[in-house]
Symmetry: C2
Subunit: 233 residues, 2 copies
């Protein structure tokens, strides 16, 4: 009998934002998979999860390349998938942990498809997103009434960014560190720089809130930074 | 000494999607405020919260009109605010509960501003949104890589809906029951009806998933229905 594969969104950083179901699933894990990137943010998911794991759990940190290339022979994606399949064949309960929500810009969202396509059942537990946490902390609604909300990686196509800045009252810009200088210029060109608030490492002990982005040194913008652009009035 | 005012997002419906912090705050409540609408969905927030409340908690169900009109003398908004202020002056710990996330299309997002403007501290605990839950259940990512995500109430301005359907690969349409027939026509006109999946009462015992919207009777679409439109490939 093959094992079970779960994905758990552990929330944006505050350990209190784990869900009850997430805690329950973490407690079932024989193997926990923590994705690693060069940016070293993801081991935080492990720190959040650790108090809820069994004592004898096996923790595997796996590196997933930014580019999704499962077809490529001997790619890291392919190898990781095969490792997980072998563990499932041993009947192990495997829990993949991910910051925020598993279906919002996560490595997991690719992996769950690979595992599912290989014929294994997958169960995913949603989590609190970083932008919801940010809005709660700032006391700034993401969207009200009939307003639309647009969530964009700061690295998205330029015409999409332009379109959003021209037409959407509420915009969340994720991964704002990647190209902060050009992003700020875009905001200024659209006349919306004054509407922007940036939070770095939201909900973490070293969280920082920036209400004026105009003087900020791009090199000082941290990896986990999100900008909320909100038309006033 | 005045009391404390909290808002807690209890998640989309599954009691397991409450956060640990949410549970902690619910346990502190002297008074719980459950918003009521004519649609009767919100008392579900109370059902989710109930196991975590003190035995002697006071539950107040408050009706908040859809239209936000706090300035209007003797409006329900004004009266509710005054009731809450009086309780805060008594030193009560008040917890306002809300389905999903408190900053995503909720009555709470208006109320927290009123309470804050009156000089009382407000603490908000984010929650899992219905669209994150829906994506996890379907195994369909909301957004990956550089893709944008657009969240719209189905009742938003027509030009915004057109713009989104033309330009965004990933679209979440909330409150899809409000004008289902015209919404479906819009999807068809944009050539995107085949990409649409609708979930009604996601995560609830009577949840329904619709992968073909073409034959659905508009009058049968339930209040808590969300459509995910996702460009394939």
């Amino acid at each position: 009998m093959s094992g079970q594969f779960y994905g758990v969104g552990v929330g944006p950083g505050d350990p209190g934002l784990l869900t009850l179901l997430g805690v329950e699933i973490l407690g079932l894990a024989d193997v926990v998979i923590a994705p690693l990137s060069e940016k070293a943010d993801e081991s935080i998911a492990l720190t959040i999860s650790r108090p809820h794991l069994k004592d004898d759990v096996e923790v595997r940190e796996m590196v997933f390349p930014m580019v999704f290339c499962p077809q490529e022979l001997n790619s890291a994606w392919q190898q990781n998938k095969e490792t997980i399949q072998a563990l499932l064949e041993e009947g192990k309960t495997i829990v993949f942990i991910t910051l925020g929500d598993p279906m919002v810009y996560s490595t997991y969202s690719y992996l769950q498809q690979l595992i599912q396509d290989s014929g294994y059942p997958v169960t995913t537990v949603p989590g609190v997103t970083s932008f919801c946490e940010m809005a709660s902390q700032l006391g700034v609604p993401l969207a009200q009434g009939e307003e639309p909300l647009c969530v964009l990686p700061a690295t998205c196509r330029e015409e999409i960014l332009d379109l959003a800045l021209q037409n959407f009252d509420n915009i969340v810009l994720m991964k704002a560190s990647r190209n902060f200088a050009s992003l700020r210029q875009k905001l200024a060109d659209a006349g919306r720089l004054q509407e922007a608030i940036m939070v770095s490492r939201c909900g973490w002990p070293d969280e920082q809130v920036f209400t004026d982005l105009s003087e900020l040194e791009p090199s000082q913008v941290q990896y986990l930074s999100t900008i909320l652009v909100k038309r006033k009035g």
